[in-house]
């Protein structure tokens, strides 16, 4: 019963059926591999393009000069970079306490409650809600009533986008903390709030930091909500967030299709800066998660 039949005769017996199945299998493998390479190719195409086009516009002046007015020479992105950092930071400052506390409620207090299930569900929807709608929402509640675009509104809009990200990762990370740790804390007589702040949070710290970093990466490149809230301006960044605040994404948007060559160059340089920072942030966040495991 062992392989006494020659290879040729098995092919005759199985031949046609096996051939068809193998062709389908090969074709599928080839297509799946090809699709994967296509997607990776597009990623590197975009990155390569940014490097080629953006590196020319990068110079010391990019970081020290403010954005140029229409038709003027030179200029840099200094105000836009600082403005972007401030708005992003403001967004994270708004989002972190709310997001961490809400995530804590879902993971610690709300286990099994219907309300917590609903909040979790709504949070997942907000997580993928179009950012343009959040921009419109902040326009309606913060820009229109106060009659003017402001950095505050921009920061709040970014914060609202970041909240669901932080809620989700905080909850996921707290759920990974073994129950035994909580029980040990309670057995020592610590009330729930102390168990959470000094045992569970501490055990899940790296994961929670990752969530905040991911939120940071998510909001750093957001453009649409800022068009309706912070808008832009061409002057040096002032610590006054009640007017329009220059920021990289809107500057890129306005400069990219402008007729001035230095504007276009700056748009590419800005794109390079913002994309590289976001990719580094995302990779670092992923590293922390993997290192934490």
């Amino acid at each position: 019963m062992t392989m006494t039949t020659p290879a040729g005769s098995t092919e005759v017996v199985w031949g046609r059926v096996r051939q068809g199945r193998r062709t389908a299998d090969r074709a599928m493998k080839l297509i799946a591999t090809g699709f994967t390479f296509l997607a990776i190719f597009v990623l590197f195409w975009i990155l390569g393009l940014l490097i080629v086009k953006g590196i020319g516009g990068l110079s010391l002046a990019t970081f020290t000069h403010v954005t140029p007015g229409p038709g003027s020479e030179g200029g840099g992105l200094a105000n836009a970079i600082v403005g972007s950092l401030v708005l992003t930071f403001l967004g994270i400052v708004v989002a972190t306490p709310v997001g961490v506390l809400a995530g804590t409620y879902l993971a610690e207090y709300g286990r099994g409650s219907k309300l917590a299930d609903l909040i979790r569900f709504i949070n997942d929807i907000l997580l993928s809600a179009p950012s343009i709608l959040i921009g419109l929402f902040v326009y309606v509640i913060l820009v229109e009533p106060f009659r003017g675009y402001s950095g505050w509104a921009g920061g709040v809009a970014l914060g609202i986008i970041a909240i669901p990200v932080i809620v989700r990762t905080t909850e996921d990370m707290l759920r990974l903390v073994p129950g035994g740790l909580r029980e040990a804390g309670s057995a020592l007589g610590a009330p729930p709030s102390v168990v959470i702040t000094s045992v569970t949070w501490r055990a899940a710290k790296s994961g929670m930091v990752t969530g905040i970093l991911l939120a940071l990466a998510r909001i750093a490149g957001e453009t649409a909500p800022l068009i309706f809230t912070a808008l832009n301006n061409n002057s040096w960044f002032a610590w006054n967030l009640s007017g329009g605040v220059a920021n990289l994404p809107v500057t890129i948007y306005q400069f990219a299709s402008a007729p001035y060559e230095n504007w276009q160059e700056l748009a590419w340089a800005g794109s390079l800066i913002i994309t590289v920072s976001i990719l580094i942030l995302s990779v670092v966040a992923r590293r922390i998660v993997r290192g934490g495991k």
Partner: protein
Amino acid sequence: MAAVTDHMTAPGAPAIRRTPMATFDLIFRNASFLAALFVLVLLAGIMLSMVIGGWPAFREFGLGFITSSVWDTQREQYGAWPAIVGTLSTALIALLVGVPLSLGIAVYLTQLAPAWIKQPVSTAIELLAAVPSIIYGMWGLFVFVPLFAAYVQIPVSNLVEGIPILGTVMYSRSPSGLGILTAGIILAFMIIPFIASITRDMLDQIPSVLRESAYGIGATTWEVVRHVLVPQAGVSIIGAIMLGLGRALGETMAVTFVVGNANRLSASIMDPGSTIASRIANEFNEAMGLQLNSLIALGCILFFVTFVVLVAARILVARVKSF
């Protein structure tokens, strides 16, 4: 920490000792509860602000706001139909292109990739989601659009000219590269990471016994995927696709760069059009009065469409997670 030391050093009867603790406990509990409620308030606030902000437009035009194709700032006539059609058609094209690509990637990552290649490739695919929308717009406008005009729009237009249906749908009157199809293709690459990574996780979750027994009876990799994995993950893959659809419907910046921002409706997917999001982004800063209300009303329509899609997506994804 402060609370713990307080607890250790506080002298006196248990009743006195417990009071500050209990207060902090209550505050902490209520603060986290309020923060969680805030998530609900946010969604309700977004919904309300869209309805209230768009109300003047809905009141002025009634149902005609949705069905009218006129968008005329001079005569103050606004209709959402071209933007709705543009939104749906770009999203549909994105799914037609993006879903096969995403499923292929998920299959490659879970079934075919050697172990050492799986992690870096997964990360690369996920990084596609980290690239900001506006960068896709730059890439689309300055690189993809000229190539698309030269190698797809012009040849295809020459080919289909005069053919009954194709000649209408695929013919480009001004082959600039901008248009509904271009926007759809770029959207496809933007939704790939979402669909691919959820599908990958779903395929990874399927107990390997199922896979192994299928291989054990002599199935090929394709047969295992087609007859074992896909039926098992079935509904959740549809959920993942709907999540991608939710993304595609509301994507703004990339689409604004490449869709052409035309206000009229064209039968051809090669012609410029506009989506709800691109219309809002494009006109918002110059809009006043009824135009502003009409733009927010457009946002309201977008909200309810994506809301329904995302709710369906989450229900489908969640249902299978617990199988």
